[in-house]
């Protein structure tokens, strides 16, 4: 066991953790909006819109995240037309490609979580709102959304942890996130166990924090039914 290597690599890995956290937070925020949008589309009565939203979540949940990143990072650059538009500024950066892929991926999972949360809202709440003469827009924003958020907290907590692990794939498109730096140190020193303990420890610490924050939120805002 090479304790010195563990101590020396710790600051480097901690520095890389910042990139991991940045990737995670940006893609979670974007993913939440995407997920909310598609969850609303899923509840639309129009068959075509409904199928479209279902197809989106089916495709993104049925393929590995790695394929999605590769299509966006290596694949989209191939389309000549895209290179001429302003989108190219975004798509040539591996950082933004990773964020796009992560957001679309977590958006698909979030849309499923939110959809099932919306569907389990008791019809009584909506009827009560309607009979009080509240406009349907306000019923949606003030009644449906808060209840859905409360009900989806446990599942969404899992999704955050899955996404944290998903950000490790950013290392495959040359980004030096926590896993990327860990791999670099492993391949230069050939001491996989030591580096795994430090990097794995940092990941575990983050999952631990996320887990407890979600638990706290559940307790505070949790829904007793």
């Amino acid at each position: 066991m090479d304790i010195e290597l563990m101590i020396n690599s710790f600051p480097k890995l901690l520095n890389a953790t910042l990139i991991t956290l940045k990737l995670l937070s940006v893609s979670l925020i974007l993913g939440l909006f995407i997920g909310l949008g598609f969850a609303i589309l899923r509840m639309n009565n129009n068959k075509f819109i409904n199928k479209f939203a279902y197809g989106y979540s089916y495709i993104f949940r049925g393929t590995p995240l790695l394929v999605q990143i590769f299509i966006i990072y290596f694949g989209l650059g191939q389309i000549e037309y895209l290179r001429t538009t302003f989108l190219w500024v975004v798509l040539k950066e591996p950082y933004w490609c990773a964020i796009i892929a992560f957001s679309l991926n977590t958006g698909a999972y979030t849309s499923e979580i939110l959809r099932s949360a919306f569907q389990t809202i008791k019809p009584g709440y909506l009827e009560a709102g309607r009979s009080l003469g509240i406009p349907s827009k306000i019923i949606f924003t003030k009644i449906q959304i808060p209840i859905a958020i409360k009900q989806s907290l446990p599942a969404y907590g899992n999704e955050i942890i899955l996404m944290l692990k998903g950000t490790s794939l950013a290392s495959t498109v040359t980004l030096m996130d926590l896993t990327g730096v860990a791999k670099y140190i492993i391949s230069t020193t050939f001491k996989p166990v030591e580096v795994f303990i430090v990097a794995g420890g940092i990941y575990l610490f983050m999952t631990f924090i996320i887990h407890n924050v979600i638990k706290y939120l559940e307790k505070k805002y949790g829904f007793q039914t």
């Binding site: 393929t63 694949g75 191939q78 996989p192």
Partner: protein, 230 residues
């Protein structure tokens, strides 16, 4: 479409064999995962504190650390560990373990952690009366476990196990970093030599979708078969 021709002209046959490789790795990993689950599920439900915390440590660490990191650990550390064990027995030559074994073993450990949780949940939601009744009727251990507990456990576990299967199948794409030629690796090679990454990665996505779709059909059939009595 020419790119998908079988034979020397296209990548059809290579991708076909790569798909078979993905299926083979997933099934091997799933089986290794079951072995791990068989080992750790009893620990997780045991009353002994030490055994219990060993079981918990396994599922917590594996489920909290990215799959890619676990794969790197085994990819870079696997042959070192085996050489270390071999050196104890007096064998000092260089040993290289093949990518298939490293890959399925590392994915197997990951899927084992998820399977353990599934089996634990299933075992704990079987009615206590079933255990007591089996004991009272004096069945031997074999009948007790295989004829009474296991069938009930499977009924509860199969829907969640099909989720584990999906996760495992998708995780196999990560072993491409070790150089094992499965769908992702083959697409990478094909994309590199034809300069057409968009087509090959999209085709890889289609292959994965097909695999998940077909396996869901099969698993749903299994699910109805095992829940017949209910």
């Amino acid at each position: 479409m020419e790119l998908l021709y079988f034979g020397d002209k296209g990548w059809g046959d290579e991708l076909f064999f790569a798909t078979l490789m993905t299926i083979a790795v997933s099934i091997t990993a799933m089986i290794i995962g079951f072995l791990f689950a068989a080992l750790f599920t009893p620990l997780k439900i045991s009353n002994n504190k030490v055994l219990n915390s060993i079981g918990n440590a396994y599922t917590t660490v594996i489920r909290g650390v990215p799959e890619l990191l676990v794969i790197y650990l085994f990819f870079f550390g696997g042959s070192g560990a085996i050489m270390f064990v071999a050196s104890i027995f007096g064998y000092n030559d260089y040993i290289e373990i093949n990518a298939f074994l490293t890959g399925s073993f590392s994915i197997g450990i990951i899927s084992g952690a998820y399977s353990t949780e599934v089996f634990r949940g299933a075992l704990q939601s079987i009615d206590k009366g079933q255990f007591e009744a089996a004991k009272v009727l004096g069945f031997n251990k074999y009948i007790y476990f295989f004829k009474i507990i296991l069938p009930q456990m499977l009924r509860l576990a199969i829907p969640n196990l099909s989720n584990v299967w999906q996760i495992t199948l998708k995780d196999t794409s990560l072993i491409s970093v070790t150089g094992l030629v499965e769908i992702m690796r083959q697409s990478y090679i094909a994309a590199g030599s034809t300069r057409d990454p968009l087509f090959f990665y999209s085709f890889a996505a289609v292959l994965y979708l097909m695999l998940t779709f077909l396996s869901m059909q099969l698993l749903n059939r299994l699910e109805t078969k095992y829940s017949k009595g209910y």
